[in-house]
């Protein structure tokens, strides 16, 4: 029997069905001897059946086996039943059982974390277990839990450090040694845990420096497993709060890895480099020659890793050559996963530098290589960038002409093998822009598109793209015939979308006016609004309803009714219904205004533009608040060497000797490589890599990018220009918002209002401050400026108002009474003075009328009005961090720094605080955080960082226009200083 079971198991592994064995396996496991049980259980393991009985057994081995079964994939709903049994085993006298129990619990934790919540304390006990093996198993749990939530395990850092120190110091029994390295796997686990704990936490990191140093020092033997430890060490060092000394050592380690002749180590070295260049690009410079060699390595995996590394160090100057390398690799490789990954990366790089012919070329290669595997948003991103165009008209035109030319050339050739996505892009571009090109006969374009339309092997989606391009081109009476022909041939198509488009084409080609209205040329760059509620159809619907049509039911409702009608299960029918419905709704939506592909696209673009905003934004605020910046202390580590290498310009020899050159090569090859190196690493180490050869051969393309607000944060290289533009645009909006309100000193309006007051109500000592305010600002509940102090008007005030005690009727000046206004609200009063206020809505402005009533004899000599809408928000740094994360509207801007006298940041912030009533939460190094909130309104958080001579400010607030307002006032306040 047992033998048979084993055979059956083997058969199953080979891929044959052996279901019939399972029941026998269960029998065997329940009744048989241990030996037979084991076999039965092996089959269980494969089939994830569960089996509890043995957990209660007194036999050690039976319990062991039961735990093994449990730790295999276990059904979630069974956990409560078995949890107490496993928990009990945590205090079993035998260590192997405890060990297995811990792992089983870990498995439970992975499957259902909330059910294991209550035994976290027991995990801690397991960590302190006297047997190192149990402790080792518990590290699995901790690694996972710390990964999820590092903050709550910070207190354990000390113990982990102690454990690691003991392990490294060889305090464990010799049993744990592997090739005379003490418990290497344990060390690896611990290093990972430490790096998680020390990330962005200086105080924790400080605890670890010593032990990391020690493990670096100890792990110097030449065995695989020591390299594994070294690698983890290096990663940990670069993850935790940096310490120059350690970084230097780690950098040397990486060097050893990269230069190692062992291929596995090289791979890890490259991986480490990729990880490290994010912090410190200079390290890549040191190893540039090795990287170049790896690029030509015979191992595809190494190549890929190298490209990944290059991808990380791409900048405006080396992007062309790096992309070229990537495309070269792309042509060679045939693994789907790699293609998708790489295509995405190339496109990402290319999109950073659009509006050059290079961009078009690259994207064309990407489309033809990546084919239909690529991410679906790639083509639409490309089209959006393409349609948005660049700043200069002429350049834009040239580019589009180039694209049209190249696509025409593509279509003229054999295009049956081209991917569908590429064809779709081609048809869109041709439909949109082929008319830019005068010398091309439109007929030719149309002929090509028609050919595409009729080609076999083209998907119906592509067909509809081509058809909509044709629709755009077929304007004027000359094409009516063609349109008719097309419409006729397609009106019998099985595809409803195609059929509908053909119909539209037919109609539009007959009516050129309609054509011009529906498909304006050039296509409107602003986003078309889609009325998703289909309200324009309301009339039609009500007409139809009046005529006796059945009211519309959504598909799911209809399906329900359908299935209710017939009690039998109707799977096939039920399924077919929603499909047809969805195509129906699609056509419904399209028919009235003919939302062509382009409009669909632009809708899509809006979405992507919205999501774009966060890309590339530097993470300053982490999950638990403020993340200290790493750069300042990182730089000293690696600057020395590259400058050594590169400060010897023109001298090839010197450069060669200091560059890592494992094998002597013919000088010409060498030179080529160096050239490649210099072109690959341009711009990394500022000027120095340029001087590697004394000159660079590669023309450095200058990329310009249209400055757009929502992208201002996406690239570091271009952010300056774009932020400038957003600056200007924003300040215009601001001045628009505040137009008349505060630019002019309030003296004049007040005099005016006095005038009116005097004429209307003599007996009231009232002053009216009329403040014009834009309605926009009002609607978003931001009542503009915080403080208006009247300095100039004090002289105009000494007008004595006669006192009258009998009537205290507060009324508005007559000319304002006509206008819609709010009730007069009494703000405050005391025996000497009462103040009321009223809002008057004029067509062009909001007037804020302040009525001052003075019942005393004395004359009002001086009125100072201070309008304040915001007040400091008292927060501490942590609350700030949390609040910051919860708010999404953000605005960034550069402000000027106040110079002179102490710390410029502090001075600037204090000035802002004094004039704008802000609360300075904290100032850390070169950064400061500030908070305020509107009276009875939302908060606004401000994060400032000194950036050269300017102050980079980043504001967030739940109210969309509050940051803009605040920024404006900050600027003003700083100007006044």
């Amino acid at each position: 029997m047992r033998e048979l079971m084993v055979r059956a198991m083997y058969c199953e592994m080979l891929g044959y069905e052996a279901d019939f064995v399972y029941i026998h396996a269960i029998k065997l496991a329940q009744q048989g001897t241990v030996l037979e049980k084991r076999v039965g259980i092996s089959i269980f393991l494969k089939q994830n059946m569960y089996y509890l009985q043995d957990l209660q057994s007194t036999n050690l081995i039976e319990v062991c086996m039961a735990l093994t079964v449990v730790s295999q994939i276990f059904p979630k709903d069974m956990i409560p039943a078995i949890l107490p049994l496993v928990e009990e085993k945590l205090s079993h006298p035998k260590e192997i059982i405890r060990r297995k129990a811990v792992l089983a619990l870990y498995k439970f934790y992975l499957i259902a974390p909330n059910q294991v919540q209550h035994i976290h304390g027991k995990f801690r006990k397991a960590l302190c277990d006297k047997d190192p093996g149990v402790m080792m198993s518990s590290l699995h749990i901790y690694l996972q839990m710390i990964k999820e939530n590092p903050a709550s395990y910070k207190d354990l850092t000390g113990s982990f450090v102690t454990i690691l120190r003991q392990v490294v110091g060889g305090k464990l029994p010799l049993d744990f040694n592997y090739h005379s390295v003490p418990a290497p796997w344990l060390q690896i686990q611990l290093l990972r845990i430490l790096s998680l704990l020390g990330r962005e936490d200086q105080s924790m990191s400080e605890l670890m420096y010593d032990v990391l140093d020690e493990s670096l020092r100890r792990a110097e033997m030449n065995h695989n497993i020591t390299y594994a430890i070294l690698y983890e060490c290096v990663k940990a060092i670069y993850t935790i709060h940096p310490k120059a000394e350690l970084l230097e050592k780690a950098a040397r380690c990486i060097g050893n890895f990269v230069l190692s002749p062992k291929i596995n180590l090289k791979y890890l070295g490259l991986k480490a480099l990729t990880y490290v260049v994010q912090h410190d690009a200079n390290l890549a410079l040191q190893h540039q020659m090795t990287i170049i060699e790896c690029l030509d390595h015979s191992d595809l995996i190494i190549k890929r890793e190298t490209l990944e590394l290059l991808f990380r160090i791409t900048n405006a100057q080396n992007v062309t050559i790096i992309v070229e390398k990537m495309l070269g690799f792309l042509r060679l490789c045939n693994d789907d996963y790699t293609i998708i990954d790489l295509v995405g990366k190339v496109a990402e790089l290319a999109e950073k530098y659009p509006f050059t012919i290079w961009f078009i070329q690259t994207m064309n290669v990407v489309f033809s290589l990546g084919g239909d595997l690529m991410q679906p948003d790639l083509p639409s991103n490309f089209l959006r960038l393409f349609a948005d165009g660049s700043e200069s008209e002429e350049q834009d035109r040239q580019l589009k002409l180039y694209a049209v030319d190249s696509y025409l050339a593509v279509l003229k050739g054999d295009c049956s093998h081209l991917p569908q996505r590429f064809l779709q892009v081609i048809s869109w571009v041709l439909g949109e822009y082929s008319c830019l090109k005068e010398d091309v006969d439109q007929q030719e374009v149309i002929r090509l598109l028609k050919k595409l339309l009729e080609q076999r092997g083209v998907s119906s989606e592509t067909r509809s793209w081509a058809l909509s391009a044709l629709t755009k081109l077929c304007k004027g009476p000359g094409y009516a015939e063609l349109a008719l022909e097309l419409a006729e041939s397609l009106s019998s198509s099985l595809d409803t979308v195609l059929r509908q488009q053909a119909h539209e084409l037919c109609l539009l080609s007959q009516d050129s006016q309609l054509h011009a209205r529906v498909l304006p040329h050039p296509a409107p760059s602003d986003n078309l609004e889609v009325d998703s509620s289909l309200s324009f159809l309301d009339g039609f619907v009500s007409d139809a309803l009046a005529a006796g049509a059945a009211p519309y039911k959504p598909p799911h409702q209809r399906q329900e009714e359908l299935s209710q009608q017939r009690a039998l299960s109707l799977e096939p029918y039920g399924l077919s219904l929603p499909v047809t419905m969805s195509s129906c709704t699609l056509t419904d939506r399209q028919s009235p205004t003919f939302l062509s592909m382009s409009s669909d696209l632009s809708v899509l673009c809006v979405c992507s533009a919205n999501t774009l905003m966060l890309e590339g934004v530097k993470r300053v605020w982490g999950k638990d608040g403020y993340i200290p910046q790493k750069e300042p202390s990182l730089t000293p580590a690696a600057v020395d060497e590259p400058s050594d290498v590169v400060q010897s310009p023109d001298q090839q020899g010197a450069a060669e000797t200091s560059l890592p050159e494992p094998e002597p090569e013919p000088p010409q090859l060498d030179q080529e490589k160096q050239q490649l190196a210099s072109s690959l690493f341009v711009g990394l180490g500022s000027q120095n890599s340029m001087s590697l050869l004394g000159k660079t051969e590669v023309a450095v393309p200058r990329f310009r990018r249209k400055a757009r607000q929502h992208e201002s944060a996406s690239t570091s290289g271009t952010s300056e220009s774009s932020s400038n533009s957003s600056h200007s645009s924003r300040s215009t909006t601001d001045s628009f918002l505040y137009g008349g309100l505060l630019e002019e000193e309030p003296a004049t309006p007040i005099q005016n209002s006095y005038h009116t007051l005097n004429s209307t109500s003599e007996n009231e000592g009232a002053a009216t401050v009329s403040a014009k305010e834009d309605k926009q600002a009002n609607s978003s509940q931001i009542l503009g400026k915080s403080i208006v102090s009247q300095r100039n008007c004090s002289k105009s005030l000494p007008v004595a108002f006669p006192h009258s005690s009998d009537s205290m009727v507060l009324q508005l000046p007559s000319e304002l009474q006509e206008l819609p206004h709010s009730d007069v609200v009494s703000l405050t009063s005391d025996p000497h003075l009462s103040v009321s206020c009223c809002r008057v809505f004029r067509e062009d402005a909001l007037l804020l009328v302040l009525l001052l009533f003075n019942p005393t004899e004395t004359a009002l000599r001086d009125v100072a009005v201070e309008l304040s809408c915001e007040e400091p928000l008292m927060l501490n740094t942590e609350e700030y961090g949390k609040l910051w994360l919860s708010i999404s509207n953000d605005v960034k801007q550069n402000l000027k720094l106040l110079t002179g006298g102490g710390d410029p940041l502090r001075a600037t912030l204090n000035a802002l605080k004094d004039s704008l009533q802000l609360h300075i939460v904290d100032i850390i190094g070169s950064e400061g955080i500030v908070a305020c909130h509107l009276l009875r309104g939302g908060p606004c958080l401000m994060h400032c960082r000194v950036h050269g001579a300017s102050l980079a400010v980043w504001l967030r607030s739940p109210l969309p226009s509050l940051p803009d307002c605040l920024l404006y006032h900050c600027q003003r306040a700083l100007q006044e200083h």
């Binding site: 030996l35 730790s71 089983a104 498995k107 990964k147 796997w185 983890e232 015979s298 995996i301």
Partner: protein
């Protein structure tokens, strides 16, 4: 975590497969096939790591393999495992097999599948590395064998009487 452990020979015939995550029979077979396809076309002098196979979902996973004579030992792991660490774990596994079977060869794996499974269960439990010390593993396996033998001895005698 270790997602799967596969052993197959130079021709792609599976000799042992162990999955620590649930896949359907068919997917398992497909994974074995594809893994063999990926691994077998690599030269001897390239690195032992393979990344981003589509098969075992997600880019987080990687394959770490070693080639011994006629057999490929492939571990599929996620990012929480150390590459070199796993590489040495394979070494430990093979050495353990070698010790248990005295000069292990492909035939041993075929005829003693159950034993191989038992050894593996002592090394890796539910995808986690349980024990890396060869002697410790062998002690455990031996203890179980001993117990088995004593039991079979007891049970066998009445059977022989029959």
């Amino acid at each position: 975590m270790i997602k799967a452990i596969l052993i197959f020979n130079n021709h792609g015939k599976p000799r042992l497969s162990k999955f620590y995550e649930h896949y359907s029979e068919d997917t398992e077979q497909q994974i074995i096939r594809e893994t063999f396809h990926l691994v077998s076309k690599r030269d001897e002098n390239v690195c032992n790591f393979l990344e981003g196979g589509m098969l075992i979902d997600g880019s987080d996973n990687k394959l770490i393999y070693r080639h011994y004579a006629t057999l490929y030992f492939v571990f599929c792991v996620d990012s929480s495992e150390s590459e070199l660490g796993i590489l040495d774990l394979i070494q430990v596994f093979v050495e353990t097999l070698d010790k248990c079977f005295e000069n292990v060869c492909e035939l041993d794996l075929i005829f003693h599948v159950d034993k191989v499974h038992n050894i593996l269960a002592e090394m890796v439990m539910g995808g986690m590395v349980l024990e890396t010390n060869m002697n410790e593993i062998i002690t455990q396996v031996d203890a179980q064998n001993k117990m088995e033998k004593s039991e079979t001895f007891i049970f066998q005698s009445p059977r022989q009487d029959r």
